[in-house]
């Protein structure tokens, strides 16, 4: 378990999903929506290209939070809003700050790519001690 103080930042997580990451995540998660894996299909439905799975991006936020909290047993909840689109082959930065630090700490977290938030208003609660 980690100790959180109000106003402190959690360590930034940076990750660049490779071109075939959405294929691996589709297989791992069971979400085979072709907007994530088939460029022709994605552009046919009006997207600029294939896009990342929102839940994969949420998993990056979860990873930043559990790493900061000292492991998977210490995360209690995570709530996110999906905004914009994330793309393969571009770096994503997950950053967060501690809003409240009691027995449970509340963290405000965002994930950004190219200066745009792809996960915003993420709120995590973690054990604090």
């Amino acid at each position: 378990m980690a100790t959180f103080e109000q106003g402190a930042a959690i360590p930034e997580l940076k990750v660049t999903p490779d071109r075939f990451l959405p294929v691996r995540y589709a297989g791992a998660s069971g979400d085979f929506n072709p907007i994530h894996t088939d460029k022709e299909y994605a552009t046919m439905v009006g997207l600029p290209s294939t896009i990342l799975h929102g839940l994969w991006s949420m998993a990056q936020v979860a990873r930043a939070v559990t790493d900061a909290a000292g492991g998977p047993a210490n995360i209690e909840s995570l709530e996110v809003q999906f905004r914009g689109m994330g793309f393969p082959e571009k770096e994503i930065t997950v950053s967060g700050t501690v809003r409240e630090a009691g027995e449970v700490a509340t963290l405000d977290v965002v994930a950004e790519q190219d200066g745009k938030q792809i996960i915003r208003n993420a709120v995590a609660t973690v054990k604090n001690g």
């Binding site: 995540y25 791992a28 439905v45 929102g54 979860a62 998977p72 047993a73 995570l78 709530e79 999906f82």
Partner: protein, 146 residues
């Protein structure tokens, strides 16, 4: 056209998922986990777990198997071509370990309309073999042009 709210409160048949070691490792690798608890069963055992620990977001895997077919329920009536995943919340009671069986219950919590968009909120409650809740999920799907 207003959204049809008659499916609010609807529940679906629960489904059970057996959490497997290699599936946990596959998922952990796909989301970039580096914590050996998720990747190495010896490390997990040394830390006091029976087997590899599922990353928190592995909930997606065991819930989706039961929930995804319910998204196509005709009474709910979501227009998939115009649907995006708008928001997600999970609450975890404890980590889940390979070898467990998790049963997920799915219901339609709310259907509302705002500014020409339909908001469809599903609730999932996932329980372990002793009937204890291990994960609850709130899934918000947004349908444009309702």
């Amino acid at each position: 056209m207003p959204v049809n709210t008659s499916a609010i409160g609807k529940t679906f048949a629960p489904g059970t998922y057996a959490v497997g070691r290699e599936k946990v490792k596959e998922f952990a690798n796909a989301v970039g986990e580096t914590n050996p608890l998720h990747l190495d069963h010896e490390a997990a055992r040394a830390a006091g777990y029976d087997d590899v620990v599922a990353p928190p977001m592995f909930a997606v895997v065991f819930i989706s198997q039961t929930m995804t077919p319910t998204l196509f329920d005709p009474e709910v009536g979501m227009n998939f071509a115009m649907m995006v995943h708008g928001g997600q919340k999970f609450t975890w009671a404890r980590p889940i370990v390979a070898g467990e069986e998790i049963t997920t219950h799915v219901s339609v919590k709310d259907i509302t309309e705002k500014d020409g968009k339909g908001f469809y909120v599903y609730e999932t409650i996932s329980k372990d073999e002793s009937g204890e809740t291990v994960v609850t999920g709130e899934w918000t799907f947004l349908v444009r042009g309702v």
